[in-house]
């Protein structure tokens, strides 16, 4: 990883999921390592992030890359352009996770052959839904259904206006006259062959949706006269970058109009649009998309536990626990605009009835989610006390100090944990009279040098969370034995989840780590060496401004570096 400092030997980069294994490779297989050590070593296997990378030189952008629409961007584009009456059950392609991030995957993936088939089927299905009822058709194509009986002949000006209007929204730019001509030939042929004007619209919409201009975000820019090696995005392309970053969806008419008028080229005009985007309700889904990626929340949608062990658990818990975290961070970032680090220390959270029962707090009076406050003697605060974190970083039948510890180091602090070695026997002792807690069973990791290099730094952060079982329920004992919840994080000792949360909130690696994750989400790649200056600058202003995520989102959107890319590599 680029964050390595010289004091430590190089480590393998954090796993991506192009290998279809995900960060779970790392987190899942660290369960244990002892007995047979091929290459005994006690070298540290966890690499600190380092607060300030002093190697940052002059700013240098990375090349631009086509971004394939992510699953949520595809859904949001259909929603924004066609309205919520149009149903797309499953997007054409699942997100590809690279470095654990859908945003990075979107910059390197293409559409698979199966995805081409899916996209075609979805495109015709949307085209069909749009014209399925008289009311739907009247909303979408009023000029076609204006007369009591649809005319048997094709109304060419009407079709052309539909193509122009919806093409602009779907392709995020004006449709050229040449493109409109080609679409009209297609639409006319369809209406004639199928003997129904509505089929013209169906095939027209299907063509717009299968275009690479829809399914990829085409942001390539053009060279600036002063610096030919630097590409500057057009105002229209930049409108797309802003909208997908802040809304996780396409620009609306107002943003496209502002780009066309040249407003985005002026600081005041840009600020007005960024403020408008951040104040819009769609900013919540934009933020949620980032938080999903940052904290790996999407796995909660499909969380399963052995309900003979965790009897209060059910399939609705995972999605609710994800929603809880999303709402908590929406509140801190967009509503109260508070210090983001309060996400670890706050006693307030959003719960629905199911979560209220699990947390043992009064259920909100209304249906859905409501804000509650944990009592002052509660063992929980913030993210590290949430069921979403505690139950996801666990096994189906029990807790996992290793998964929890690795999440804190990697995801929250951007430290690097090396993957477990192959060809190591990883069995851990069964529960026995003298081995009742995970701390006792994992003790071997800490005494075998080969294992200790990884496991002491991970487990000393994870074991103090053993006060919560594999479903996130508070407990005082494990298998009848009292729990020792002491631990150590980068030089500070602590006791229990509350103190750990305070330490993570105050950890010097946290601010830059958040900045790196936001930058990655916005740009679609992990910051390159030339971009470290931008990371440092954003981090400085983030800290100086009181760690407010709202201000950080605005800083990223307003930064000049968000408008430029280095020239793409040519040649074969």
């Amino acid at each position: 990883m680029k964050m390595l400092t010289k004091r430590f030997r190089p480590q393998a980069r954090t796993l991506g999921t192009a290998a279809a294994v995900g960060t779970a490779v790392l987190l899942g297989s660290l369960a244990a390592c002892f007995e047979t050590a091929a290459e005994p070593t006690s070298a540290p296997m966890v690499t600190p992030n380092g607060t300030a990378d002093t190697t940052a030189g002059a700013f240098q952008s990375e090349p631009s890359a086509l971004r394939r629409l992510t699953e949520s961007q595809f859904q949001n584009a259909i929603l924004d352009v066609f309205g919520d009456a149009i149903i797309v059950a499953v997007p054409p392609e699942p997100d590809v996770m690279v470095e654990g991030a859908a945003s990075v995957g979107s910059s390197v993936s293409s559409i698979s052959p199966r995805g081409v088939e899916n996209l075609e089927a979805i495109a015709y299905d949307i085209g069909k839904q749009i014209m399925a009822t008289e009311a739907a058709a009247a909303r979408f194509a009023p000029c076609l259904v204006g007369t009591p009986t649809p005319t048997p002949t094709i109304d060419a000006p009407c079709l052309r206006s539909i193509a122009s209007k919806y093409g602009r929204r779907l392709w995020r730019r004006d449709v050229t006259e040449t493109e409109l001509d080609a679409l009209m030939v297609l639409a006319t042929n369809a209406g004639t062959a199928m003997q129904a004007p509505a089929q013209s619209v169906r095939f027209l919409v299907a063509a717009l949706l299968q275009s690479p201009e829809f399914i990829y975000r085409v942001e390539v820019g053009s060279p600036t006269p002063a610096k030919p090696q630097e590409h500057r995005y057009s105002d229209t392309e930049f409108a797309s970058r802003l909208a997908f970053f802040l809304w996780d969806g396409p620009p609306d008419e107002a943003l496209l109009d502002a780009a066309k008028k040249g407003d985005l080229a002026k600081a005041s005009g840009l600020e007005a649009q960024v403020d408008r985007l951040l104040a819009d309700p769609k900013a919540r889904r934009g933020l949620s998309s980032f938080v999903d990626e940052w904290l790996h929340l999407r796995g909660l949608q499909d969380l399963a536990k052995d309900t003979t062990i965790f009897t209060s658990f059910s399939g609705e818990v995972g999605p609710a626990a994800r929603q809880e975290v999303l709402l908590d961070i929406q509140r801190i970032a967009l509503d109260t605009k508070a210090d983001l680090r309060s996400m670890f220390t706050t006693r307030e959270t959003f719960v629905n009835r199911k979560l209220a029962a699990l947390y043992d707090v009064a259920a909100p009076s209304q249906t859905g989610f409501g804000l509650v406050t944990f009592p002052s003697d509660s063992p929980r605060s913030g993210l590290l006390g949430s069921i979403g974190f505690l139950a996801y970083y666990a096994h189906p039948t029990g807790s996992s100090p290793t998964k929890r510890g690795a999440f804190i180091r990697e995801t929250l602090l951007c430290q690097t944990v090396s993957p477990p070695p192959a060809n190591v026997d990883t069995a851990i002792p069964e529960v026995a009279a003298n081995l009742r807690t995970m701390r006792e069973r994992l003790l071997a990791h800490q005494t075998v040098p080969f294992c200790a290099g990884c496991h002491i730094p991970i487990d000393s952060v994870g074991l103090p969370l053993e006060g919560f079982d594999g479903a996130g329920k508070f407990r005082k004992t494990d298998n009848g034995a009292p729990l020792d919840l002491t631990g150590e994080l980068d030089g500070s000792t602590f006791d229990g989840a509350l103190q750990l949360s305070e330490l993570v909130a105050r950890h010097p690696d946290f601010p830059q780590c958040v900045v790196k994750k936001i930058h990655r989400f916005a740009y679609g790649h992990t910051a390159g060496k030339g971009e470290q200056a931008e990371i440092n600058s954003l981090t400085t202003s983030f800290i100086a401004g009181g760690h407010r995520l709202h201000a950080l989102l605005k800083s990223v959107a307003m930064s000049d570096s968000f408008r430029i890319a280095s020239a793409p590599a040519q040649g074969e």
């Binding site: 192009a18 690279v98 293409s110």
Partner: protein
């Protein structure tokens, strides 16, 4: 023109709604040659290729058969395959010859592509897609990727940037295969006016993409080009539908599966879903809707609860002590479902044999011994005779850690691809496993 689509759907709905689904079939013999190995016009039966994959390896000591060649006995973990012993080859002692730097990730990449991962990315297409590229244009679907574990991440790569998604809902797979666009190859219907229109939409996509490519850098151009390969493939598939299909006697519309399979005490109904998928696959192949499939029972690192196991599969492979009775039980469950799949294909007559005889199916996983995720003693099962190209009923055992790419080379050749070698660098092999080839 009559509204073909509406009539067709009405007919299909009537069939699906009925208690027993059957369609009138033409007499089998009319379409066969005298020896029963091909159609009367000389066209051989289509050959099909598939992968059956599961996560987390096996326990090699309990996996490897005793005996060798034609004289061998199934091991305890292979016992569920007893009914198909004569239809499979078990290949043991082989090694996936890439660096094992990504537990559970290096193995499938190294086996299926013959190449190591590079910065976590696949660098070459997987074997199913190597074959689909050659055969896929012959059928309505280039290939079918489906799975049993929910939310499974695919291991089927058409290129480094193209991962074919896995369908894990039997109901959605049914709709895709046998929904409104399904045309029974044995039914006589008029031409569908939508087909040429669909092709002209794709022509428009290709034309627009050509203009777009001119504005892009090299890597983005390559990504668009890979996308367009899929578009061209789809055009060929549509053109194939416009031509009159080969009649396939065994093709019949199957029953629709359940809309949903709800978990029981936190456990997915893996066996029920797997059997529904296998039944759909069998008819998809019998109706020649595709010739290539990738079936992921579970994904690498799957930590779900399987059967009656006491904990998640992946956790058990590492934590469970001794001879791992829980892990063993899970392997038995998986092999039972593999056996069901093979049985479903074997139940369909094709000529003088069965559909399975015209298949080549690779059964494999993400490592050898799950506990240590090693790449030697890699589990490999080859089922089906590939239309007579392969011998079956053998246990092939290597005592020298033979290169697993030898097996892959043999399989792609069995499917009719003329490949001199398979794999890259350390995993490359140009030495076919002739012991399983029919002379």
């Amino acid at each position: 023109m009559p509204n073909f689509k509406l009539d067709r759907r009405t007919v299909l709905r009537g069939l699906v709604g009925g208690a027993a689904v059957s369609v009138a079939l033409p007499p089998l013999e009319a379409f066969m040659n005298a020896s029963g190995t091909a159609y009367a016009n000389g066209t051989p039966f289509p050959k099909r290729f598939g992968v059956f994959f599961w996560g987390n390896g096996v326990i090699p000591d309990r996996w490897a058969p005793t005996g060798e060649g034609t004289n061998w006995q199934l091991s305890e973990q292979l016992a569920p395959l007893a009914a198909h012993k004569a239809d499979i080859n078990v290949i043991t002692g082989f090694k996936v010859n890439v660096k094992n730097d990504r537990p559970h990730g290096a193995g499938p990449a190294g086996l299926l592509t013959g190449a190591a991962l590079r910065t976590d990315m696949y660098v070459a297409p997987t074997v199913d897609q190597v074959i689909a590229k050659e055969l896929g244009g012959e059928t309505r679907f280039r290939s079918l990727e489906f799975g049993v574990q929910r939310s499974t991440r695919s291991l089927s790569y058409a290129s480094p940037t193209q991962m074919n998604p896995i369908e894990t809902s039997p109901a959605r797979l049914f709709d895709r295969l046998f929904g409104e666009d399904f045309r029974d190859p044995n039914a006589t219907t008029g031409p569908d006016p939508r087909l040429p229109l669909r092709r002209s939409v794709l022509d428009g996509v290709l034309a627009q993409s050509t203009a777009l490519k001119a504005r892009l850098g090299a890597s983005d151009r390559a990504r668009i080009e890979q996308h367009l390969e899929g578009v061209r493939s789809l055009e060929r598939q549509i053109a194939r539908l416009e031509a009159s299909p080969v009649s396939l006697a065994a093709c019949a519309l199957p029953n629709a599966p359940l809309a949903d399979y709800t978990d029981v005490a936190g456990r997915q109904q893996l066996s029920a879903v797997s059997r529904a998928m296998s039944d759909l696959l069998a008819m998809a192949l019998a109706c020649d809707q595709t010739r290539v499939f990738f079936d992921m029972f579970t994904q690498p690192l799957a930590d779900i609860l399987i059967g009656t196991a006491s904990a998640g599969h992946h956790q058990l492979t590492h934590d469970e002590a001794g001879n791992q009775p829980n892990v063993h039980g899970i392997i038995l469950t998986i092999m039972q479902e593999f056996a069901y799949l093979l049985g479903a294909l074997k139940a369909i007559p094709e000529g003088s044999g069965t559909l399975l005889d015209n298949c080549v199916i690779l059964g494999t996983t993400d490592c050898g011994f799950g506990r240590t995720h090693q790449l030697n003693n890699y589990p490999l099962i080859v089922a089906g005779k590939g239309g007579g190209f392969l011998k079956t009923g053998l246990h092939i055992k290597s005592t020298t850690e033979d290169n697993a790419s030898r097996v892959m080379l043999t399989l792609v050749n069995a499917m009719g691809l003329r490949r001199a070698d398979y794999g890259l660098d350390t995993a490359k092999s140009s030495d076919r496993l002739t012991a399983i080839e029919a002379s």
